[in-house]
């Protein structure tokens, strides 16, 4: 399972690729192999040119794309839970990140469970459910 949140939760002390490789390293994977997979994941989200970048130099959209790469980095990932992943992004970046998330998930044959307030983002999903409070629905 991979998790993406509104905040990308990247760790400042690591480079972009190390942030992506972080979960793999703690799964016990050898560092060179984990970093190789991280670079591949970053390539998948269009961040191959920033693999060694300082996290604080990334834009909001770039940081969220790194978070997407990190959620998808496990080879056997089958479910991505995304909680408002585009809430802090502008319209264009929100669309790009969502498309990327969905296409990469598709490539990994993973399911994405995405919560959003943005109808444009919801429209990109295969299936949508509207969650309302009981008394609102009534």
């Amino acid at each position: 399972m991979g998790l993406i949140q509104q905040s990308p939760n990247l760790l400042e002390e690591f480079s972009t690729s190390e942030n992506v490789a972080f979960p793999l390293l703690f799964d016990g994977m050898k560092r060179p192999h984990a970093l190789k997979l991280a670079v591949e994941a970053l390539r998948g989200v269009g961040m191959a040119h920033r693999t060694d970048a300082d996290i604080r130099s990334l834009s909001g959209g770039e940081a969220q794309r790194v978070a997407v790469a990190r959620a998808l980095v496990r080879p056997d990932v089958s479910l991505i839970v995304a909680d408002e992943p585009t809430a802090s992004l502008d319209v264009e970046n929100a669309r790009r990140v969502t498309e990327l998330l969905l296409s990469e998930a598709d490539r990994h044959s993973a399911t994405v469970l995405l919560a959003t307030h943005d109808p444009a983002v919801a429209a990109l999903c295969d299936r949508t459910y509207h969650l309302t409070r009981e008394h609102d629905a009534a």
């Binding site: 760790l11 400042e12 690591f14 190390e18 979960p23 703690f26 560092r31 990190r70």
Partner: protein, 723 residues
């Protein structure tokens, strides 16, 4: 400026709960720091005034005649005095034997301060501390006198350095005299005091240590630790403060103005704590009489200060807080792999300070300035060590960054990235270890000096001396023991001419048969004419002293001396000898190490200083851990979102904490070793590796224990953050 102040005040005294931790930390720290500075100033002032007050007890000696020193001539004297020491409270209690000169028996100028009149012949006046400890004049073989101006006729405050000062004034019995010359000092008047008088100079240690020891002592053990606590607290976390700073940044406020705002916020909180401390000191300062963990008690009002002294004390603490507040980070750090120049300067400073300490113990440094260089180097270590710990921790982390273990790798990367912030606890720990180790080394030296200063009698004899008639005194002493029914042997001892080096004392046997019989020898054999060597061998075997030979050159009587040696078949305590022979004028009993077991005042002051420093710096460590706990709870949430287990994130947090702690402990321990052993060379301190290891281990256990205690709070905070 008015806007800045109003903005700062609004942040400082915000009702927002997120500002509460910072408010509590800064108020408490500025209170402690200001109070500590005020107490430090009071103690320094006391170390000036106390000897002057107690020095009045010495009176003004008679003028010097010819090449003599003042006090050696009886011309114009109202009294003759001899300073002795009496065993009480497990220490050598200063005892002033006072004998009015003929015609001055009722002369008020012959009465020392603290007395209303001279005690009667054979009477003694005790200080309140001795009476409180349960002693009476009769315990020492004298009669009680109520001639003192204090409560119940004890010595009044005006003649004492401190309330806990043990002191005795005693007057020889009628017909007995202190004699002339030698240890006698002639006093011209007690109505004035001698500005050159050195209280306790030769014979004993006053309760309040001298200003040359007090000033650096309070600086190292009281002021520096409390300022470390204040500096630490000025960095206490507050989300309200962070938000307001971001707000100022968003508005485009200049960095200088933003810094002023931050400094004012910190300064205002510190000012509040400082004013409370001033109020507390003004109201309760008069009643600060107890030096913690010691038997030293001061007089009420001893630590009171004039009102104007409060101003610099407040200025120091508020200024320190203001300065530290302005140093806060305005924007997120820029990443730099290179250590900042300031950090390298700190390491260089630490190395220079350690080399200075080492240098002070070498022959390159003149002995006249070696102590000053040593103290300067030690203060340098205390200043530069906390500044150097982040750089050393970062260096240690760099060496671990290629580790295979992901926990070590991640911890090393985090440390290297933010070494200053993550080494705060370790920095304070380093100061704590050095300061407490320094106190332990000084204490070790003072305790060793005390043990060396007490003689030991391998023969089991008690050496006794007195003033006046030696022969008459010897007979009187024998009679006194006989009246008590004690089977003792009292023999005279003589000193040899020691101009060519130290020479042992000799026993002067006046009655060979009694002497030999006392030790169950054959007097017919040993005392036979021409058997001088045999007697000498016998004496050495039983008393540890030989008898004089024809060629022996005897030395002059030093007047302080061990005039006789008392041997007893049954156990005979120093207290018993004092009680039985108390009538001898200016009785002097040589005390042994087992008699004088009470710690010297300097040792007690050092213990108090070490404890206070440990408590204040321990508080600073606990405060830093409070900040760390909040920050680590945020980290825990991120780690868990990345899939790390609670156990793994705990391991990471512990590793990040322990690396700087270990680096700091090892560095501080090394510095402490250097300071102690260099101090030992200079005879200031005493190196004791085991004690230093214990200090380092206990100090290291403090933050680790505190963190273990904060784990539940961290879990709770992490739970709130997750939600």
């Amino acid at each position: 400026m008015r806007t800045v102040l109003r903005f700062s005040a609004a942040v400082a005294f915000s009702h927002d709960r997120r500002q509460r931790w910072r408010q509590v930390c800064l108020l408490a720290a500025s209170f402690i720091a200001t109070f500590a500075v005020l107490v430090a100033l009071g103690l320094i002032a006391l170390s000036y005034t106390s000897p002057l007050r107690a020095g009045a007890m010495l009176g003004v000696p008679t003028a010097a005649v010819g090449d003599d020193y003042p006090g050696m001539s009886p011309e114009g004297a109202v009294a003759a005095v001899v300073d002795r020491g009496t065993l009480a409270m497990d220490r050598q209690v200063p005892t002033v034997w006072i004998e009015p000169m003929a015609g001055h028996e009722d002369d008020p100028t012959a009465v020392p301060p603290g007395l209303d009149e001279l005690p009667g012949p054979g009477e003694a006046v005790l200080s309140p501390a001795l009476v409180a400890a349960g002693y009476t004049a009769e315990d020492f073989g004298w009669l009680s006198s109520a001639a003192g101006s204090g409560t119940d006729g004890t010595i009044g405050d005006e003649g004492l350095a401190a309330a806990s000062e043990p002191l005795i004034f005693v007057r020889p019995e009628a017909g007995a005299s202190l004699g002339e010359g030698g240890a006698v000092t002639y006093i011209a008047t007690y109505a004035e005091s001698d500005p050159n008088a050195v209280y306790g100079g030769n014979s004993y240690d006053p309760e309040v240590v001298s200003v040359t020891m007090m000033a650096p002592g309070v600086a190292i053990f009281l002021v520096v630790p409390s300022l470390v606590l204040l500096i630490s607290s000025s960095r206490a976390r507050s989300l309200v403060r962070d938000e307001r700073l971001r707000f100022l940044h968003t508005l485009g406020v200049r960095a200088r103005t933003a810094r002023t705002t931050m400094a004012c916020e910190t300064g205002l909180l510190a000012l509040s704590g400082a004013l409370i401390a001033v109020l507390a000191h003004a109201v309760f300062g008069r009643w600060l009489t107890v030096i913690p963990a010691t038997s030293i008690r001061l007089f009420p009002g001893d630590l009171s200060l004039p009102w104007w002294v409060y101003l610099p004390a407040v200025a120091v603490t508020v200024g320190c807080a203001f300065f530290c507040g302005a140093l806060g980070r305005l924007l997120p750090r820029r990443r730099s792999r290179r250590p900042r120049a300031g950090h390298m300067i700190a390491v260089a400073g630490l190395v220079a300070a350690v080399l200075t300490v080492i240098g002070s113990a070498t022959s390159w440094v003149s002995p006249s300035v070696a102590s000053t260089v040593f103290v300067g180097g030690t203060i340098g270590v205390i200043i530069f060590l906390p500044l150097a710990v982040p750089t050393l921790s970062a260096a240690a982390a760099s060496s671990m960054r290629t580790m295979r273990s992901p926990v070590l790798w991640a911890a090393a990367r985090r440390l290297r990235h933010d070494a200053v912030h993550l080494s705060r606890v370790a920095s304070v720990l380093g100061v704590l270890i050095v300061v407490v180790s320094f106190a332990v080394a000084l204490w070790g030296s003072a305790a060793a000096t005390q043990a060396e200063g007490s003689s030991s009698h391998s023969s089991g004899a008690i050496a006794v001396g007195w003033r006046g008639d030696p022969e008459g005194g010897l007979e009187a002493a024998r009679d006194a023991f006989a009246e008590e029914g004690r089977d003792v042997l009292i023999v005279s001892t003589v000193s040899q001419d020691d101009t060519d080096g130290p020479m042992p004392r000799l026993v002067d046997v006046d009655d060979c048969a009694s002497f030999v019989a006392f030790f169950n020898g054959d007097s017919a054999d040993v005392c036979a004419p021409g058997n001088g060597d045999k007697l000498s061998d016998f004496a050495e075997a039983n008393t540890g002293m030989r008898t004089p030979e024809d060629t022996t050159r005897l030395g002059p009587d030093d007047g302080l001396g061990d005039d006789v040696a008392i041997f007893s078949r049954e156990p005979l305590s120093t207290q018993n000898v004092q009680r039985i022979l108390g009538f001898l004028p200016a009785l002097n009993i040589s005390l042994t190490a087992s008699d004088v077991t009470a710690p010297l005042p300097i040792v007690q002051w050092l213990v108090a200083g070490a404890l206070v420093a440990f408590a204040i710096l321990g508080l600073a460590i606990v405060r830093e851990i409070g900040d760390r706990s909040v920050e680590d709870s945020g980290r825990d949430v991120i780690y868990q979102r990345l899939g790390l287990s609670l156990h793994t994130s705990d391991k990471l947090a512990w590793t990040v904490l322990l690396i700087p702690l270990v680096v700091s402990t090892v560095t501080a321990f090394f510095c402490s070793l250097v300071i102690s052993y260099a101090g030992e060379v200079l005879q200031i301190a005493k190196g004791d590796t085991l004690k230093l290891v214990l200090v380092a281990a206990i100090s290291l256990a403090l933050p680790i224990g505190a963190i273990l205690l904060t784990i539940p709070a961290r879990r709770a905070a992490a739970s709130v953050n997750r939600r």
